[in-house]
Point group: C2
Chain length 271, copies 2
């Protein structure tokens, strides 16, 4: 199944929340810590309770690489625990010269079997091409990020009057000949989202920044609704997976996810 079809199918079912598995041994419930594989147990419980209501899962590589090979084994087993009709995003922010990016693409798509990846476009088109050559996958490319540092470079104005992030969006739209590009747009930038949404063309959008980072799901939904678009994913990581520090963490995560879905539904139904 093409990655984009997985996303569109869930979006048609009004599922827009991507649950980010930024699973951290210091934040998971104490009762799991005596397990032989606490992070995998945590992830599998979260997946089991949320899979019927999510649009996608995003696995943040840093949280697994931190533990070296052991962590990567947990990452791999987490991917295997997710039903294959659900989009699985490798949040890896890769990007390098061509022969190196090819190896990263092999890692993410062939070795770990992800449907999608996040990429950093700074080094330009040839640094992303090995990923874009995978026609069945989805490549979410950074445009304007959710953090403060977005002001350092992404929001600089170019001599053609555009902001750098706008130039990046324009290029990505141009690079989309395999219909497998998407954008990462930080939901904390509400004004910029509203102002630029029509430049996104038909590309799917991954929006981090809701939850712990402070952006509002209402603002995002309103922006996409008024633009008449529905191919997007709102990522929530800490705001869902750490809903409870007790044994009921997975139930609470599912409740929180359902709350998001209800909120979204009610906004979509408003006249």
């Amino acid at each position: 199944m093409m990655a984009i079809d997985k996303l569109l199918t869930k979006n048609r079912e009004r599922k827009f929340i991507c649950v980010g598995l930024d699973s951290d041994i210091d934040k998971i419930p104490a009762n799991l810590k005596s397990s032989s594989n606490p992070i995998l147990d945590f992830n599998q419980a979260i997946i089991s309770f949320t899979k019927s209501a999510v649009a996608a899962y995003k696995i943040n590589f840093a949280f697994y690489e931190k533990d070296g090979e052991k962590g990567l084994r947990v990452l791999s087993e987490t991917v295997e625990s997710i039903p294959r009709d659900i989009l699985i995003i490798a949040d890896a922010k890769r990007g390098d010269i061509g022969n190196t990016s090819l190896m990263y693409a092999k890692s993410v798509f062939d070795h770990y079997n992800f449907d999608a990846v996040t990429l950093n476009p700074l080094m330009g088109r040839d640094s992303l091409e090995p990923f874009l050559d995978y026609k069945d996958k989805l490549n979410f490319i950074l445009t304007l990020t959710s953090n403060k540092g977005a002001a350092d470079f992404e929001k600089l104005k170019l001599d053609n009057g555009k902001f750098l992030y706008q130039q990046i969006i324009e290029k990505i739209v141009d690079w989309n000949s395999n219909n497998n590009c998407g954008l990462v747009f930080g939901a904390t930038n509400t004004n910029e989202l509203v102002e630029n949404i029509n430049s996104f063309d038909s590309l799917p959008v991954l929006l981090p920044g809701v939850g712990a980072q402070g952006a509002s799901v209402e603002d995002v939904i309103a922006a996409f609704k008024s633009a008449g678009r529905s191919n997007f994913l709102i990522n929530v990581s800490r705001g869902i997976i750490y809903s409870s520090e007790e044994e009921d963490f997975a139930e609470k995560a599912a409740e929180e996810l359902l709350n998001y879905n209800k909120k979204i539904d009610s906004i979509l139904k408003e006249a």
Copy 2:
């Protein structure tokens, strides 16, 4: 030992070549392929023959991540095979929001015990800060890369008249309060190197692009010599490690490295 001191010590010994271990099962000599761990054997042979003449080793994560946990185990064992007076650079091009970058920093510096890392600055200061907080390490941050795609964004002109890569250099100089920042500057950009070298302040520079990518070591040395600077590393990966496809690959790699060192020495000695 501080990472910067390792680099400066080798530079004082007139060692400027960083050997990039972009080790690829499809390119290593056939006689190694029957081994139970061909890439590790290859790396250890290269290290054993080159260690007395190198300035640093750079390990390209992509080439190891491609094989998942197994590859990361080889990466780890390769790091352990390098004498600790030699700078070891994690070529990982990481960069993400703060809590994620912290995990990447833990992976590279704490788990794998690298001295230095390459970073992507697109997301701005807070995306690099967790790395910059490691005072004993070195953080080589992308400015102008060696590939064609550098023209897509890095070479765009800003409305303040600077190119984006120049603005990045300026920011990095500003972020260097722990004296642990360095620049990655693609050696293929000879003119830009000459024109901007005085804006690098005292930051060490890692220069990829020599060898397979076509830049000339003479041009790089000449530029640094005329600027009166010596704290830099010229990376050569394929141009050294694949000097021979036969059993003598490690000897040939060492010969090639010595050729580079001789060439550099003769340029430095010219009046």
